[in-house]
């Protein structure tokens, strides 16, 4: 069992939890993910690691309530435990000294997994700029954390309530315009956002890494549910990724597959609500 040591509501429907998982924390690296299960009836939920601490044995996860399973997770409190917590899974991000600036782009809760990458790239001696996007100011997360591990933070909000009005791609364009020598962009967030960032960097030939979180069950290469076309090849996000070359990923195919269970998620939500689970 894996105890919840800390819980915080970062913005409406977005939660951060620190989980006691010493053996996972010991091996975790930026860019990797975990799979958790709340209880015996629960789904296996993949989440990218938002932070880890080898000394305290803690892993930070950040998630948004989108269906019954995340609702159930959000209903847990400090002192409760998760039944399963598996990881670290996937290949770590490549951490190295670049010839130029490292830009991390996080959209929505995708900001969370860019944090350990930004920190590690900063520690590796790189100039790191973080671009953080949110629909509106109230749902922006982890701004202070990010400021502490980067040289510059650019915030964009769709409605202009904070920072640059517009999308993360506007901030990327802005950096290019001012002559920033960008060596690499790592973008994590909704598929449509990652696609847009990849399109924005393509004309400039800026290497762009995206981290995919497709439908998956086991996370160890067994189910093939997380398959995605990269270039001409079928790749499994869990064992070949989760990070891929954003300029080679077939985003339309990925978006179509992400919708596969949407209607059943609704059934499930309704079901769970009826018996009162997941309510505060």
């Amino acid at each position: 069992m894996y105890e919840i040591l800390k819980k915080e509501e970062l913005s409406p429907h977005v939660y951060a939890m620190e989980i006691a998982a010493p053996r996972v924390a010991k091996k975790a690296e930026p860019g990797q993910f975990i799979i958790l299960r709340v209880n015996e009836e629960g789904e296996r939920i993949p989440l990218t690691i938002a932070d880890f601490n080898r000394e305290t044995g803690r892993i930070l996860i950040v998630f948004q309530v989108i269906g019954a399973s995340t609702m159930e997770l959000a209903a847990l409190e400090v002192g409760d435990s998760l039944l399963d917590f598996v990881g670290p899974l996937g290949h770590p991000s490549e951490i190295r000294k670049l010839d130029g600036t490292m830009v991390v782009v996080g959209g929505g809760i995708g900001v969370a997994p860019t944090y350990p990458i930004a920190r590690a790239m900063h520690e590796a001696g790189n100039k790191v700029i973080a671009i953080m996007g949110a629909k509106t100011k109230d749902i922006l997360i982890m701004e202070e954390d990010m400021k502490a591990v980067t040289d510059e933070v650019l915030v964009t909000t769709d409605d202009g309530s904070y920072g640059i009005k517009g999308f993360v791609t506007n901030a990327v364009e802005e950096l290019v315009r001012r002559g920033e020598k960008i060596a690499q962009v790592t973008a994590i967030g909704p598929v449509i956002m990652m696609k847009s960032v990849a399109e924005a960097t393509r004309p400039y030939g800026i290497p762009t890494v995206v981290s995919l979180n497709p439908i998956m069950v086991d996370g160890t290469g067994m189910c093939g549910g997380c398959r995605v076309t990269v270039g001409d090849e079928t790749k499994f996000a869990c064992v070949d990724g989760p990070e891929f070359d954003g300029h080679a990923v077939d985003f339309p195919g990925l978006m179509s597959r992400q919708r596969m269970y949407r209607d059943l998620e609704a059934v499930e939500k309704e079901h769970v609500c009826r018996i009162g689970l997941g309510r505060k």
């Binding site: 789904e43 990881g87 290469g221 093939g224 919708r259 998620e265």
Partner: protein
């Protein structure tokens, strides 16, 4: 009494009933039938049946015990060499193994060895007859077993009985490997059979750590180093699903058989929404492939509510790799076999969902390297099957995680671990491997046989290591 030329039939659930539930299809012999079947055994002076068994069960001896109604004695005999008899009695391809060599088979039907094994094993499970508890010495050498499927369980059981401290590392949240995630409930009940057999192993002193992805959490080198194990057995199986690489495989509604079966068996999607994992089966499903996994997927789709289920296989009935009994059961349940047919593309609707599968008819040409006649497309014979679910069951490759994280571990051209056939020894000292990760996808019992051989080799290796140390 004249000797019957026929096996005593196995009682089964009626096809029209079982096609709509997940209860076990075959119901097992009752006591009188089992004794009567046991009496068919001729007790040949030189029993041929045993040589067909990958784990060399003393078949005539256990059958003799059943004849004497000493069922405890029967299971003890089986367990001398087989640590999972209730599983093997259900899923072994006996017709190609023990029963194939039975002398009775020359004139009529062989003794129902598998059915008798299942009878003895079920009786022991029902009566809660665990193996005698076994405590390893405090200074016993330690063995790490990676993967809790058939090869790992069998290797672990044998090593525990030899007095070693064994820890199994399982990546999933439940032990059993393919027994838990792959083979359906209606063929191999999970709580009643698989988990019980695993509990029996734990009573032998085997420790099972679930949620432990070896390679990521502990590398093989770390297991042999700081984690303090004296030897490692790798039994990670053939888990990586293959696709045909035809257009449309990324559409929604296309599954690997692994994903489809894992959602249903391990995650219990057949009890959605009480269990949270969903599994969508439309009205018409096509399963690509002709092996046991394809039969399992087809029959599962039917039970999940599909109205029409096709098996699409590129060769003819004679080449179907599935067990004859599974094919027969599938047909009885109404699965529609489209043989000599090969998919060329999957077509989607405007929402990215499967709506049809383009197929081409095949004919058989000259035998290929496998000795089977090669299927050749018939020009101009393309046609469309309207389906909304496609399940790809054309085989699996080796799981890559251990290979990716273990420097110095030699692999074969196909990415399997290169290991000695008799001992399981790999290119790394102290590291052994067996089962599907070495051979490619095969059967439960072959993997168990490999686990046993490796256990014997690990025993010899550790004895030598100890002698050198002392």
């Amino acid at each position: 009494m004249a000797l019957s030329l026929k096996k005593h039939p196995m009682p089964v659930q009626a096809p029209e009933v079982r096609a709509h539930n997940f209860e076990e299809v075959a119901l097992g012999y009752d006591e009188e039938t089992a004794v009567a079947e046991a009496e068919r055994c001729l007790h040949c002076k030189v029993p041929q049946c045993r040589k067909g068994c990958p784990v060399s069960v003393d078949i005539p001896a256990f059958i003799a015990k059943i004849k004497e109604r000493d069922y405890g004695g029967a299971i003890e005999k089986i367990k001398e060499t087989n640590s999972l008899p209730a599983v093997c009695g259900r899923v072994c391809p006996q017709e190609n193994q023990c029963e194939k060599y039975c002398i009775l088979g020359k004139k009529g039907e062989p003794v129902g060895i598998g059915r008798l094994e299942r009878f003895a094993a079920d009786r022991a499970l029902a009566k809660e007859m665990p193996d005698a508890p076994f405590a390893a010495a405090p200074d016993a050498q330690r063995v790490a077993v990676i993967g809790s499927g058939p090869s790992g369980l069998s290797c672990a059981g044998d090593l525990a009985k030899r007095g070693y401290k064994v820890t199994i590392f399982e990546a999933l949240h439940k032990a059993g490997g393919v027994l838990s995630y792959g083979i359906p409930e209606f063929r191999l009940p999970k709580d009643k059979v698989v988990q019980k057999e695993i509990e029996n192993l734990e009573k032998l002193g085997v420790t099972i750590e679930t949620d432990a992805v070896a390679g990521r959490l502990y590398t093989v080198d770390e297991l042999l180093g700081e984690e303090g194990f004296d030897a490692v057995f790798i039994g990670t199986g053939a888990g990586l699903p293959r696709f045909q690489n035809i257009p449309g495989e990324s559409l929604s509604g296309v599954y690997s058989a692994n994903e489809f079966l894992t959602r249903c068996n391990l995650m219990k999607a057949y009890r959605f929404p009480d269990y949270a994992t969903p599994l969508k089966v439309g009205k018409t499903a096509a399963i690509i492939g002709g092996g046991n996994v394809a039969m399992d997927a087809a029959r599962t789709a039917l039970r999940l509510g599909a109205e029409h289920v096709y098996i699409v296989y590129r060769r003819s009935e004679a080449e179907l790799p599935a067990r004859a009994e599974e094919v027969e059961h599938a047909k009885e349940e109404g699965i529609d076999f489209r043989l000599l047919t090969n998919p060329v593309a999957i077509e989607g609707d405007e929402n990215g969902w499967v709506k049809a599968m383009r197929c081409i008819r095949m004919e058989l040409g000259e035998p290929d390297a496998s000795g089977r006649r090669r299927p050749i497309p018939v020009e101009g014979s393309e046609f469309s099957l309207a389906v909304d679910t496609v399940i790809v069951a054309i085989g699996t490759g080796p799981n890559p995680i251990i290979a990716q994280t273990t420097p110095g571990l030699a692999l074969t051209k196909r990415g399997n671990i290169a290991a000695d056939e008799e001992t399981g020894a790999t290119s790394k000292p102290g590291v052994f491997a067996g089962g599907d990760i070495v051979t490619g996808a095969a059967t439960v019992i072959l993997a168990m046989g490999a686990g046993r051989k490796a256990a014997a080799a690990i025993d010899a290796y550790l004895k030598e290591k100890k002698a050198e140390r002392d």
